[in-house]
Amino acid sequence: MSEPATASYSAVRRSWLRDTSQVSLPVAALLMMLAIIFWIRPSAFSYFGFTLLFKLATPLVFASLSQMLIIMLGDIDLSNGSFVGLINCVTVLYLGDWPIVAILIYLATIAVYAGFGLLIYQRQLPSIIVTLGMSFIWLGAAIILLPSPGGSAPEWLSNLMSWRSPLVPLPIWIAVLAAAAGHLVITRSSYGPVLRGAGANPRAVERAGWSLLGIRLAVYSAAGFLAAVSGLLLTGITTSGDPNIAPAYTLLGVGAVILGGGSFKGGVVSPIGTVAGALTLSLAGSLLSFLQVPPTWQIGSQGIILFLVLAGRVLISERES
């Protein structure tokens, strides 16, 4: 056990160093966007302004972290957005009146989600197509439960999401705490290298005595849990249910992970970068309306912003090499 231990120690050191340059990019982009927004509208620099700017980012943060865990394993999850939609529908239907039923359904969906993760691993299937199939299953289940948008979130949940937290607004607290927790588990803890290694070099992790099956089951369950949290928080904000509420989360989440320094090769992800990436992507929309970009050009400008931020990655990697 001593050999893998030293190997994992140096992996922690290297990933910690690499993490700083990975994280600097989305954070710099985020600060630059905020600077432009406050320069145009100084009154937005307030408790209330920050609340409005980052309110819708909170569920995307958790959806992106869920996607990050899957990308860490070298897979991709195309069902993330419809899973969030299903949780949204279950929440408005059951959480208020029958909380036990709601919790049982959450647990069952997370178990099914992890089961598909197991299927991908055991049959060596391409995750892109299995999760595509899963996205149809989640969306179908959500439509069976809630054929037309409606319903209402339990009061405590919407109250929670509009809670005026001390010092800084709630969305900022949540983002910072989520990033810190992710960083501690994925980047800093002794399990971090094993979890990332399961994506980067599964054979090595297996030879070191770990059960890949167990790791993948745990990571897929955790990803399902984070996506469920995303759905809960989203319900607290929108206060109603809609099966098609979050299809954009799938690709936005993938974007946030890559923006935060992640790689599809597996094993290379940064929780802090991912959270910063999710905040950047959801702030891009606000920035464009502050800049008074016409609505028809907003989506295209988001594409350009994505390119501009990612172009920074080329500059960073050239400076390092």
Binding site: P126, L132, G133, G140, L145, I258, T296, R313
Partner: protein, 318 residues
């Protein structure tokens, strides 16, 4: 009509074809054997669009692990809008319209690859960001209005000669050309070699970048051609015309037997998967199931098919 269908199903054995055949029989058994012909011709017409756009996606996917084009639905829509604007319902402008559509697709594909190569981005992200830009162009060009096609284009997409639909036959031609291209042409061999190992291909003197550039340009061009024909078939260019093709273009490629790990392609298999997809939709519609159940069964069937198809390429790479 039927003989063509039977020839297709008994062509190179593939799970997609078998699954499609099963769906066809089940639906026919359920709703009566009177409309088997109509059912198949509808599946062939709709399947032809999935095959066109899927063939382009296949070339990109085969060019190496991680290669994928998420911009196809908006390249399709943009090309449709641009060509409908150029033709403004005049028959004599149909050919210029076609060339403009193909040019839009080729340029879009080239831009995709330039972003991938110059910014060293994962193809998923680069093509996603470009698809946002193409989407904005389509918004500004067409807006909410549906731009109508010239009569000759609509005629071409639904016309039959001696009972045989022209358009699916043309698309079968595209499939055959692609098959020959992959097996016999220098580009085809280079594409698969690049997909198997970019480094080995580069070291053996293949211009890896040019090969992948061409794959992305062909993908854009085929997406644009799909948009051009689809707007003739469905009565015009509309903003949501490409929506279903993002997932479908990927699904038909993978279910058709092409490996997402790259380096291997199956052009004929796409037809099987596309027929399977369309006949499955017909079958679930005939059963009069509610929308949610239909979606769930679609998902279950996709996962089921991909689980039982033997995967040669992936086992080799392990």
């Amino acid at each position: 009509m039927n003989s063509r269908g039977i020839r297709l199903v008994t062509a190179p054995a593939s799970f997609g074809f078998i699954a499609a055949f099963v769906m066809w029989i089940v639906t026919a058994a359920y709703s009566g054997f009177g409309n088997v012909g109509a059912m198949l011709s509808a599946a062939l017409a709709f399947g032809a669009f999935s095959v066109l756009i899927g063939t382009g996606q296949m070339l990109v996917i085969a060019s190496g692990p991680g290669n994928i084009d998420l911009s196809v639905p908006w390249v399709l829509t943009l090309a449709a809008y641009v060509s409908m604007t150029v033709m403004h319902e005049q028959n004599y402008l149909a050919l210029p319209g076609l060339f403009v559509a193909l040019a839009v697709g080729a340029v879009a594909g080239a831009l995709n690859f330039v972003a991938i190569a110059a910014l060293r981005l994962p193809p998923i992200i680069a093509t996603l960001a470009w698809s946002f830009v193409y989407q904005s162009f389509a918004f500004n060009l067409g807006g909410e209005a549906t731009l109508k096609p010239p009569a000759i284009l609509s005629w071409f997409t639904v016309q039959r000669v001696m009972g045989v639909q022209i358009m699916p036959v043309v698309v079968i031609g595209v499939t055959l050309v692609t098959m020959i291209l992959l097996r016999r042409s220098v580009f085809g061999r280079h594409l698969l070699a690049t997909g198997q190992s970019e480094l080995a291909a580069y070291l053996s003197g293949i211009e890896v970048r040019q090969v992948r550039l061409l794959a992305y340009m062909l993908c854009g061009t085929l997406a644009a051609l799909t948009g051009f024909l689809l707007s003739g078939f469905s009565g015009g260019a509309a903003l949501n015309m490409g929506d279903t093709y993002l997932m479908e273009s990927i699904a038909v490629v993978v279910l058709g037997g092409t490996s997402v790990a790259g380096g291997q392609a199956n052009a004929v298999g796409i037809w099987g998967a596309a027929l399977f997809f369309n006949l499955m939709a017909t079958m679930l519609n005939t059963f009069h199931l509610e929308a949610g159940v239909r979606l769930m069964l679609t998902g279950v069937l996709i996962i089921l098919i991909v689980s039982v198809v033997p995967r040669v390429a992936i086992q080799n790479s392990k």
